[in-house]
């Protein structure tokens, strides 16, 4: 596995800079799957990829990246414009809070933090998008559970892309 040498200026190539953006946008594009879904159970893959990048490779995305990526997601997801823009940025700040208080983390703790961020984003997105009286809450819990269980998969994908990104 390729490793970075100290004092070597890494990642000057623009493809390596663009790869995290491309993977998150590809995650957002999962909603164009040709299925007219009755139930909102598709996990927010864009958010999963974003959190995986943030937790596995914290410097891969700038702090302002989630705002622009969220704008792209809002154009596709059906949520009101600006909701992912705001919530994804707030999730980054939330992870910053965890970062300050933990020094060594293993993947289980990362997973737990991602679960908190996913639950926050989905619940806040539901409150912003749908009227309070809507019967969507049990489905929302199912969607959160599916998303949390799929986070390791997103982390695998991100780790795989990141290895190739450094090698490139």
């Amino acid at each position: 596995m390729p490793t970075l040498k100290p004092f070597e200026a890494p990642l000057q190539q623009s493809p390596a800079r663009a790869l995290p953006w491309v993977t998150v946008m590809a995650g957002s594009l999962m909603t164009i799957a040709p299925v007219a879904a009755t139930l909102p159970l598709l996990p927010p893959f864009g958010l999963l990829m974003l959190l995986a990048w943030r937790l596995l490779a914290p410097l891969a995305l700038r702090r302002w990246a989630p705002a622009l990526l969220g704008l792209f997601d809002d154009c596709l997801s059906g949520q009101p414009m600006g909701s992912a823009m705001m919530l994804w940025t707030l999730s980054f700040f939330l992870i910053d809070l965890f970062d300050q208080r933990t020094i060594f983390r293993d993947f289980k703790q990362d997973w737990l933090i991602a679960a908190v961020a996913i639950a926050f984003s989905l619940v806040a997105g539901r409150l912003l998008a749908s009227p309070i009286g809507g019967h969507v809450d049990s489905l929302l819990l199912a969607q959160i559970a599916v998303s949390v269980l799929l986070f390791p998969f997103a982390a695998r994908v991100v780790a795989w892309v990141d290895r190739r990104r450094i090698a490139a």
């Binding site: 594009l29 999962m30 909603t31 164009i32 799957a33 040709p34 299925v35 007219a36 879904a37 009755t38 139930l39 909102p40 159970l41 598709l42 927010p44 893959f45 700038r62 702090r63 302002w64 989630p66 705002a67 622009l68 969220g70 704008l71 792209f72 809002d74 154009c75 596709l76 997801s77 059906g78 949520q79 009101p80 414009m81 600006g82 909701s83 992912a84 823009m85 705001m86 919530l87 940025t89 707030l90 980054f92 700040f93 300050q100 208080r101 933990t102 020094i103 997105g125 539901r126 998008a129 749908s130 009227p131 009286g133 809507g134 019967h135 969507v136 049990s138 489905l139 929302l140 969607q143």
Partner: protein, 316 residues
């Protein structure tokens, strides 16, 4: 562990300023998001251009992929038809013989109906089909239920037009792009459709719940009893949906309100037919003037007769 007091990334001024600036930009991004949210709360179609630009690009991809998926999904069915073609043929012959008498009766009734309508000077409200397209994708990760239709302004689709499938009502168009349109499905938590019960014409509203069902809410003053199996069709009140399109079947008994299953299930959407609004929107002058627009149409589908048609000119 308590957070370290010094959060600077190092001694480099450049690194410190870059980090500071990136946080400023992130906060600005979140604030812009909040402003956009407030704007879209007050004016939901405000950012329709952005969304339709995105769906213009994605809809052809979804359409192509859905054609492939349909083709693959049709394989088992096609194979199965070869095996049961003889039995099906016999069953169909028997059914044709059985229903022949009913068909003749129905033809007589149709002719009778047309004659009586002519006597009453009623005009048939034929929903004018604007476009026939497919729902190619949907917002599967959001609690809102929108579908992307692969026909848009260039095909004559306009916001407000009702969309129905072969089985029943799907929803209505809310945003249009050149070649795509966004459809608010009947199961969306913010969709409300005026309906009436088949049989006694009990007026009600079919409000989406967000979990694949709709709530039937009676709007009558009497204590309405809803029984499982009650079927509801659009009533035409409000002038948007053509009367008589199947909407939903009641699932559980209830008084005044009951959950119901829509006839057009989102995940088996076949073709989607976009038709013109049942009543044309009132002219601008009528809206701005003091007189309110014409009252909602009665249960009988009567189209307003334009002044120039011969139906209203005095007969000699």
């Amino acid at each position: 562990m308590a957070p370290p007091r010094d959060r600077r990334p190092g001694f480099s001024r450049r690194a410190q300023y870059t980090l500071f600036l990136s946080y400023i930009l992130a906060i600005a991004g979140a604030l812009v998001g909040a402003v956009l949210l407030v704007l879209s709360q007050f004016n939901p179609p405000a950012f329709a251009a952005l969304r339709s630009a995105a769906s213009e690009i994605t809809a052809p991809v979804s359409g192509g992929a859905s054609a492939v998926v349909r083709g693959i999904a049709a394989i088992p069915d096609t194979v199965a038809t070869y095996f049961r073609v003889h039995g099906e043929n016999e069953a169909l012959r028997a059914e044709v013989a059985r229903t022949h008498a009913a068909l003749v009766q129905a033809r007589i009734i149709i002719r009778d109906n047309r004659r009586l309508r002519g006597l009453l000077k009623l005009r048939e409200a034929t929903p004018e089909t604007v476009a026939t397209a497919r729902i190619v994708s949907s917002t599967a990760s959001s609690t809102r239920r929108f579908g992307i239709l692969n026909a848009g302004r260039w095909q004559g689709v306009r916001p407000g037009m009702p969309v129905r499938g072969p089985d029943g009502l799907i929803g209505r168009v809310i945003e249009t792009g050149p070649n795509t349109a966004r459809v608010l499905l009947a199961i969306d938590p913010e969709s409300v459709i005026p309906v009436r019960r088949i049989g006694d014409g009990l007026p009600a509203l079919a409000a989406g719940r967000g979990d694949g069902l709709v709530d039937i809410r009676s709007v009558g003053t009497t204590n309405a009893q809803l029984k499982p199996g009650d079927r509801f069709v659009t009533s035409g009140i409000g002038g948007l949906y053509t009367p008589g399109v199947l909407v939903a079947r009641v699932l559980k008994a209830g008084s005044d309100t009951a959950p119901a299953v829509p006839f057009a299930q989102a995940d088996i959407f076949d073709f989607a037919i976009v038709s013109a609004p049942f009543l044309p929107p009132p002219p601008r002058a009528a809206i701005s003037g003091a007189t309110p627009p014409a009252a909602a149409p009665s249960v009988t589908p009567v189209e307003p007769v334009p002044t120039s048609t011969p139906a209203e000119t005095p007969r000699p």
